[in-house]
Symmetry: C4
Subunit: 100 residues, 4 copies
Amino acid sequence: LDIPVGYRRLIFLMAATAVLLGTAVIGFMALEDLSFFDSLWMTIISVMTIGYGDMYPVTDEGRKFALFLVPLGAGIVTYALGTSASYLIEKQLSEKVWEK
Amino acid sequence: LDIPVGYRRLIFLMAATAVLLGTAVIGFMALEDLSFFDSLWMTIISVMTIGYGDMYPVTDEGRKFALFLVPLGAGIVTYALGTSASYLIEKQLSEKVWEK
Amino acid sequence: LDIPVGYRRLIFLMAATAVLLGTAVIGFMALEDLSFFDSLWMTIISVMTIGYGDMYPVTDEGRKFALFLVPLGAGIVTYALGTSASYLIEKQLSEKVWEK
Amino acid sequence: LDIPVGYRRLIFLMAATAVLLGTAVIGFMALEDLSFFDSLWMTIISVMTIGYGDMYPVTDEGRKFALFLVPLGAGIVTYALGTSASYLIEKQLSEKVWEK
Ligand SMILES: [K+]
Ligand SMILES: [K+]
């Protein structure tokens, strides 16, 4: 395949994000006995480093799992959001919108 | 128009920030039944990723809305603050203040 | 004066950080009726975007003040910590420690 | 020794992270009278700037210690996670995975 490097990285970044978030959501559902949506909420609020305090891991297993998964997830999500914002502002939309 | 690329990006960044924050504030006012100022407070505390825990979305609709809007808002606001701080320190004020 | 640009920026960054944090601490002492140490604690926990939830602005005036000062402080402090960590790792200590 | 600069920085970064986190964990164990695991949890939740609000320093000594250690730890950990994510996506894994 002859896919440009920018697209390869984007695909890899999206795949890494999906794997990490999926693992976290399924892990917290099992370890913390949460519904899918509650586990998704706790995962996103954790990896975004918001930590409202309405939900957090309370079991020993859930906290040990979080000590690995949350920093990894936060690293990837912060990187993905940062590069997306940078790309959006510096490369693409600003030029396209301006040309109209 | 012949506006320099730096200004175009600044205009686009400010517009994107305003649209995202405005959408979040109006959305939380409707979905979470909040006053304008409470919704603004919850939005800023969320997109800054502070999450004091005094206010957070509690309805299912508000939490689903937050799962989309807060990461987008956090990405843009973090980028805007980071580039502003970088520009402030590296390019402009330090030189101007020094020359006085 | 013939001070290298790197030092000028460092001085400016430290001055900007001190002015913003000082303004925040004094402002919260007055608006939220806090002791110096409690105001310093709330300011640092806020601009670091930790937001433990033990202390946050509760008056209307304090919250309006926070909406301006906390994003500015967070932008400068995050930038200062990021550039310090980068400089520490990439330029200075790693080489000096290694040469011993 | 003839170790490439990239590895030197990685070793230095890991050592600095270990020293800062170790100091924080031991310090909070002593000052806040916490078990090892509770202190590790509070340290990671603090330096990741999540701040769930389930645990935070409550003694004067613990809060003063946190005012120094948490910003330093957050700076190093954020830098380490950011450069790791960047390296993972831009340099290494994406190419290796792709070549298979
Ligand atoms: K945060
Ligand atoms: K928080």
